[in-house]
Symmetry: C2
Subunit: 442 residues, 2 copies
């Protein structure tokens, strides 16, 4: 096979055979297919798509590129959650210890910042000492002893995805349903889960902006999951504004620590509880998603989830004193407030613009291998529907240089639309989907 | 500016400003923008295209990436020819010395093999000693003293194109009108020409297969040329079968040497004379293209063109004895004949398939920096409309290993369609275009 012919076939809209997909993906992992050919192929896929057979073949190649963890000797139904990514989406950091504290083992494989969104691993690594490069033996041991692990896909697990994920991040090939589906499901399957909850984001800060696309992605993901015999529940949730208030690695850790210690950041906590409910249901710890939500709420209020988080941080080498007292984090060198400049109500937020602003402040990567600035980011004070005064700040931007912070602040201001009349805030969760059907929420 | 945002903007079909295009192209040349980001951007351009303003901005960036040769102190109207590339298209090797032998200076900048087609530089370098890495001083000197030079774009001339051309070759981003137009015109303008003849190929072996696309490319090229004040004539010519008989570097040099010494390979010689006629007309050496053709025919028959070719080869360090006696070239290690396997007439040739077969035999590159096998290639004996017997060979494949030659031979056989009724061969030249209009040939 000739790589350029396979790129050309996909460019012309042809369907690649499983062997052809294997040749590309395996060759890329082994270094025989260079980055630039994979980048061109990925961009062609963005335009011409993939059939279901191609998507499944891609997922299988990616799973086969590394080891598959066997957790069958550990008691309980192992359940993981995956979000398609958004701005300020730090749910995993709350959710994993919360669900584990209720007795469902959570073997979680997370990713790095991708496009305009942050990544759970980058966020966790802003806790001093926290290690996310966990090998398979330690991963199994943490699930067994702590009941939860939050790891990156190491060289052992899905090396194909690790390499392709980093490349897509810097080549504008993130927003692509089959590539997203293959990436998500290969990690989850290799991680050894028995069941899976998916948070598929839609709106101006999501990779898939429109509802139809989000539903299509959810169906593709559920199809792959069920094909592998893993029960899968998906929620379509809102990403038209940042989730919670913090956007940026350390800022988001601080917000999570506060929530675990009792602060109620309304949208963030409500979504976390909804996803926890589904995980407890799939994990056999409750008879319904709603019953699971009640169990999770108790665990959050009682401090059980907080204690499990402290245990998790310590087990992965992190210094839990930063969770116990987030004021220990050094402040960013530069900060500036962003004012509305007009009075009224927040009518809309270009949430992708907020994500790009955080990236410009230093919270994300311009190209593969760039370091992220853990202190950089944004805290927003105003969400859709909130009243705002002329000189009232809508957000604060943090970073290490004035140039970067000023650039980010301009982008934040441009992302806010202030109107005269109050808008209803968007619904937080639009619907729930599984292999059997679709439930719309009002 | 953030590279991934510019890639994303183009992916979404947006128009990039001249500054944004400069940022990408200049950054790529300087190594700040990596191959994989340029590859993704190029593939996005293939799908969403470029406006005329973007194409002109791209051309200007590419010209500005290096030096621009000033040939104004050399007497005469300097005229170059460019072909959009095809299978067996060795016209330049005949044409440059032919036109120069008639008194029109020919400063020719050529390229390497691209996609399924060969490149003039790769062909010339199969002449032992022949140097194509000519610096600007030597280039000027050769135009002044020999009246012709055949050079690659060195690091000095259009470094942006040199780097992008190599990348497009291996990422299936060759067939793209604005990228082709920018690549072609930047080289010609930097090379210091006063006027230009374009051979825009159409058919199964061309990058732009359909007539409409070829006409659009020709219009784009003529527009850029005239915008820079260079008189430009384009011909739309057939590429539904190899031009001449040889496909592959050394094999094509041998065929050219034979034609310069009096052999009449009908389509090859007729097209060369047509293009020569236009160059002599633009160069002020004849009153019309037809009068130019007559002048060129005399120069070919009299041996003037052959003598100029010997002079050119010697001046660029090549050993002219290989042109004087092509049997001096060592034969390929492996050869095999391809038989029709049925009787009838050649109804069609998948000419791209012939090009890919030559590449598979070793005549082209799988990825950037690969060496080409100068001896590898194909000689075809049967063209569209020719009668063929069951056991009669339609072609011979040459190469260095049996695996490669067998693979290529299978591809050659698959490229031939044999029919019961005789088909008319395709017209060689479809039309002529310039800034003033369009002349269709019958």
């Amino acid at each position: 096979m000739i790589p350029v012919e396979l790129i050309g076939k996909k460019r012309r809209g042809g369907e690649l055979s499983p062997d052809e997909i294997y040749y590309l993906v395996d060759g890329y992992v082994r270094g025989d297919i260079p980055d630039y050919q994979m980048a061109a192929w990925l961009m062609a896929v963005c335009f011409t798509g993939m059939t279901d057979a191609e998507t499944l073949a891609l997922t299988r190649c990616m799973v086969q590129s590394g080891r598959v963890v066997d957790l069958s000797d550990i008691p309980g139904v192992k359940v993981d959650k995956h979000s398609t990514g958004g701005v300020g989406d730090k749910v995993s950091i709350l959710l994993a210890p919360l669900v584990a504290s209720c007795g469902v083992p959570v073997p979680m494989i997370s990713g790095r910042g991708l496009g305009h969104t942050g990544g759970t691993l980058d966020k966790l690594e802003s806790i001093p000492g926290f290690r996310t490069d966990i090998d398979i033996e330690e991963y199994r041991e943490l699930v067994r002893t702590v009941g939860v692990v939050m790891a990156g896909q190491t060289g052992e697990l899905v090396p194909a995805d690790k390499k392709m994920y980093a490349l897509r991040d810097v080549t504008a090939t993130v927003e692509c349903i089959p590539l997203m589906a293959g990436s998500i499901m290969s990690k989850k399957i290799a991680g050894g889960v028995d069941a899976l909850v998916l948070d598929v984001k839609t709106g101006s800060g999501a990779f898939i902006r429109d509802r139809e696309g989000a539903v299509e992605l959810a169906r593709t993901l559920i199809g792959i999951g069920e094909g592998y015999g893993k029960r899968t529940i998906a929620f379509i949730t809102d990403m038209n504004q940042p989730l919670g208030r913090a956007v940026g690695n350390r800022l988001e850790i601080i917000e999570c620590a506060e929530c675990l210690r009792g602060r109620n950041i309304e949208d963030l906590c409500a979504l976390t509880l909804r996803l926890a409910g589904a995980m407890l249901f799939l994990g056999g710890k409750s008879d319904s998603v709603d019953a699971g939500i009640r169990t999770a709420k108790d665990a959050l209020r009682s401090g059980k989830a907080y204690q499990k988080c402290i245990e998790l941080v310590r087990a992965q080498g992190g210094d839990p004193s930063y969770i116990e007292d987030p004021t220990r984090f050094a402040p960013a060198r530069v900060r500036t407030e962003v004012c509305a400049g007009e009075s009224g109500y927040v009518a809309a937020i270009d949430n992708r613009g907020i994500g790009i602003a955080a990236l410009a402040a230093g919270a994300g990567r311009m190209k593969v291998g760039d370091a992220v600035d853990p202190a950089a980011g944004i805290v927003v004070y105003k969400k859709i529907g909130d009243a705002v005064g002329n000189r009232e700040p809508v957000a604060t931007v943090y970073g290490s240089s004035e140039t970067r912070v000023d650039d980010a602040a301009r982008r934040v201001r441009a992302a806010y639309t202030i109107g005269v009349d109050r808008q209803e805030p968007p619904r937080l969760v639009y619907c729930m989907m599984d292999a059997h059907g679709y439930t719309e929420y009002s």
